[in-house]
């Protein structure tokens, strides 16, 4: 493909003035992928006029995107890629090869977005032009769109010089994406149970990943979490370079912490893939992350190339970590709370080292990093601070709780649990979260979302007093008579809520016998708007409200905040 496609940078890149200063360093980063042989064999591109077709595909894709936005069918992101690929199936391969510095892919259950944001911040400080796919657009079509929207009608990328793409890739989509865009580096963060209804069981993801690794060219580099046994094992079969990262600060060991709830965590990887015996842990940091070995066959955690040798948790605002690589040791300040963010930072540092990036951009990139959408993001509202901490699976939720409730400070909380498709329909995982640790430690507590009642029930069984919670489900029950008698205006009802109430009234008229007291508290309110309102009102000025939403709940919270003029549209965020 490289032979047939345009391999020279475009004229306008050559004209760019800014290159002078950093060219020498960034040039050294370039290692050509050596994929020619593969592509000569495959001959997947049409022999003639690939750019012409590419140009056509770009025009069609972008037109479709514009139309979709115009018609308010959606944000118009994935349609761009879908249409472009229809017209020219190799469009993604074609465009990706034009990136001067190739692509870095990040995948795993948790930490994809934060890790790729860290990498992006580092590489920008390192003088590269960083392209990313948009949050949540991490399937093939999203990745395709991210390239097509940056392409010109002549079928070439705009400003591809010094460009590198950081692609956040869905766990299950990795084999497909990696076989089309040959990455220079693939970063694997971790593997936990997540969206069981969509991915099936945890083990099937491992199979996807092993296939993806087997498809990688040997010039690629794998960046792997040494402390997650499933991730570390991916390095065993790979012929190319493998770099491991891990935590060596033993004071974070969970096994020595006496808090009983710490020990209840679910573990998703417990057996050795070689011999099936159960791993034994010398140190465990969280879930199955730690220093493990197989007592039977001797398989053990690989020695990490990039290690966090000392970690200081600096309140809820930052972490100070001593990072050791070989002989060198550096202090890196991570402006985020939570043990899991140490791993995200280490993954980014390791990826940057694999690209031969210097330490200065690494430490400045991470230190000045602004939290990614919903990942510790801070928003000021009415003299109060809101912090958004996405939690979409049990391990993620446990780590958020551990971060918030590790000391005795009572917190103001808003939990929003949705079960839309992007969240995963199956929410039984909430029973695996150690909510026990927050019982009695909240000052004010609002529970909302499409599954507010399930979560409230979970909290009740965790020992949270029902009186201490304000439960605000998305929509009222049709049989809820008392709500039906209230006027919608009074409780700030959504359209959907009003429709439900209308139906409820209708039902009551038809079946007066249903007008019995239905036991639902008459003060019950509904909808996220109310939930946010109540949670903010309950939080005193100068204090912090911690909002812990699932994925679609985070989108809703952002939408609500936009309506109040508190936050920019997320798609106008800094990354694109």
């Amino acid at each position: 493909m490289r032979k047939q496609g345009p391999s020279q940078p475009l004229a306008n890149e050559l004209d760019e003035p800014a290159q002078g200063r950093k060219t020498s360093r960034t040039k050294s980063i370039i290692r050509k992928h050596g994929l020619q042989n593969k592509h000569q064999k495959k001959q997947r591109l049409p022999r003639r006029h690939p750019s012409l077709r590419a140009g056509l595909a770009v025009i069609a894709g972008r037109a479709a995107g514009a139309l979709s936005r115009r018609l308010h069918l959606g944000a118009g992101t994935s349609i761009v890629g879908v249409v472009a690929q229809r017209i020219y199936p190799q469009i993604v391969e074609h465009l990706a090869t034009e990136l001067e510095h190739g692509s870095v892919m990040v995948t795993g259950t948790n930490g994809k977005t934060t890790t790729s944001s860290f990498i992006a911040a580092i590489l920008r400080d390192g003088g590269l032009r960083v392209w990313r796919n948009r949050e949540g657009s991490n399937l093939m079509r999203g990745v395709a769109s991210s390239l097509v929207i940056r392409a010109q009608p002549n079928g070439h990328l705009r400003r591809a010089g010094r460009a590198i793409s950081i692609l956040e890739v869905d766990e299950a989509a990795l084999p497909q994406v990696a076989s089309v865009i040959h990455p220079r580096i693939v970063v694997f963060t971790n593997l936990f149970r997540d969206q069981l209804d969509r991915y099936g069981e945890v083990h099937s993801i491992v199979t996807h990943w092993q296939r993806a690794v087997s498809l990688l060219p040997p010039e690629a580099t794998l960046v792997l979490n040494a402390d997650d046994p499933t991730i570390a094992q991916l390095g065993a079969s790979f012929e190319g370079r493998v770099l491991y990262y891990g935590v060596d600060d033993l004071s974070l060991n969970l096994l020595t912490q006496q808090n009983a709830s710490e020990r209840h965590q679910v573990i998703d990887t417990r057996t050795c893939p070689q011999c099936g015996s159960e791993y034994s842990y010398d140190v465990r940091f969280y879930s199955h992350i730690g220093h493990y070995h197989c007592p039977n066959c001797g398989k053990q955690r690989p020695q990490p190339d990039v290690r966090a040798t000392q970690v200081q948790l600096d309140g809820l605002d930052r972490l100070r970590i001593q990072v050791t690589t070989g002989e060198q040791q550096r202090e890196i300040v991570v402006p985020l709370p939570g043990l899991y963010n140490i791993y995200n930072a280490l993954a980014a540092i390791t990826a940057a080292r694999a690209l031969d990036i210097d330490w200065e951009p690494i430490s400045s990139g991470i230190e000045q990093f602004k939290p990614a959408f919903g990942r510790g993001e801070r928003i000021q509202a009415e003299g109060k601070t809101m912090r958004l901490l996405l939690a979409k699976n049990p391990t993620g939720f446990n780590e958020v709780l551990r971060t918030l409730f590790s000391d005795a400070t009572p917190r103001h909380m808003l939990f929003v649990l949705n079960d839309n498709i992007a969240d995963g329909r199956d929410i039984s995982w909430i029973w695996d979260v150690d909510f026990e640790r927050l019982a009695g430690k909240t000052q004010t507590f609002v529970v909302a979302g499409t599954r507010a009642l399930d979560l409230a029930l979970r909290l009740k069984y965790a020992g949270v007093d029902e009186e201490d919670m304000t439960i605000i489900p998305s929509i009222p029950l049709r049989v809820a008579r008392r709500e039906a008698n209230r006027t919608p205006r009074q409780i700030g009802m959504s359209k959907r809520g009003m429709r439900a109430i209308g139906q409820a009234i209708e039902t009551l008229e038809k079946h007066p016998d249903k007008a019995n007291d239905t036991l639902i508290p008459s003060t019950r309110m509904y909808g996220l708007k109310n939930a946010l309102e109540v949670a903010l009102n309950q939080t005193p000025v100068n204090e912090t409200l911690f909002v812990v939403p699932t994925y679609t709940a985070l989108l809703e919270v952002h939408h609500e905040l936009e309506q109040r003029g508190l936050t920019p549209h997320y798609w106008e965020g800094g990354d694109t």
Binding site: G200, T271, A456
Partner: protein, 297 residues
């Protein structure tokens, strides 16, 4: 405290493979049983039975087995057969209440036939078998409601295998959802006091009547029957309950199930509101009304 009893009541729950079969929030079932016992002054001890542990039936009053990944289940089959099989059979024949969810349900039937590879032999407690028809056949995923003893049970199902019943009685009839095999509207299986089901989510928190039913079975079995019925309890035994069906026709069901007469009623408003919410999401409006009204007593 149960009226009529001065001694303190203790139940022991054997939780099979808590570390391996815990994929779908199975812990919620244990937490629910423990708390609902605790609120009645009954001590529920939970004993984990892992790989290599033998099952001595006289040490337990209830058993629970959850679901896991296929890979892990295959690894447990041998242990289940060799270390626990005889004890489990003895307990089941002796009417011990046993709840088996998802993978646990499959392990108690004759066999599980995966899409590829050899059959996994089960214990054969239920005359039933499970077939995974391969990756091209969609998994059964979604909210589900079934009728059980004139009431509803709600949950979430997520299974690739299709279970077919031989002579085994189903736990209930599917009102909305897939159930055992998405074909015959059966859900789960019953043998003596052993209940197999695909409902998780978790099952017991949103179905407090079923949780209490299991506790009661265990109490009756351990402390003899019948427990003295207290004055405060409500017993709508054998009452005729009128249900307006979804199509407007009137369905008369005979309530054969005795409400938890022995156990002190708890404040389950939240439980039933959550239960009714699932029913409404599935479009089962009259069932939702019935569930809320039943709680009111």
């Amino acid at each position: 405290m149960i009226p009529g009893f001065t001694q303190s009541l203790t139940l022991t729950l054997g939780h099979l493979y808590p570390d391996q079969l815990n994929l779908y929030g199975d812990r919620g079932n244990i937490l629910t049983l423990r708390r609902r016992c605790q609120l009645r002054g009954i001590e529920l001890r939970v004993v984990g039975l892992g790989v290599g542990d033998a099952l001595a039936p006289d040490e337990y009053d209830m058993l629970f087995i959850g679901g896991g990944q296929d890979k892990e289940q295959a690894y447990l089959v041998q242990d289940l057969y060799e270390m626990k099989g005889i004890g489990l059979w003895a307990a089941i024949e002796d009417d011990m209440p046993v709840l088996a969810v998802c993978g646990g349900f499959q392990l108690l039937a004759h066999y599980y036939r995966p899409a590829e590879g050899p059959d996994m032999r089960g214990l054969g407690v239920f005359d039933a078998w499970t077939i995974h028809k391969g990756p091209h056949v969609a998994r059964c995923i979604g909210d589900i409601a079934i009728s059980w003893n004139g009431q509803t049970l709600v949950g979430f199902e997520n299974h690739g295998g299709r279970t077919y019943l031989g002579t085994a009685q189903p736990l209930g009839k599917v009102l909305k959802g897939y159930g055992n095999n998405a074909e015959d509207r059966t859900e789960g299986a019953i043998y003596r006091n052993t209940y197999g089901t695909y409902l998780h989510g978790s099952l017991l928190p949103k179905n407090p009547h079923f949780a209490d039913y299991l506790i009661e079975l265990a109490l009756q079995r351990k402390y003899g029957e019948p427990l003295v019925s207290s004055a405060e309890s409500v017993a709508p035994n054998g009452t005729v309950h009128t249900n307006i069906g979804a199509n407007g026709s009137t369905v008369v069901e005979l309530l054969t199930y005795e409400t938890s007469t022995q156990l002190k009623p708890l404040d389950d408003r939240l439980e039933w509101e959550a239960h009714a919410t699932i029913l409404e999401r599935l479009g089962l409006h009259s069932e939702a009304t019935a569930a809320l009204r039943r709680q009111k007593g």
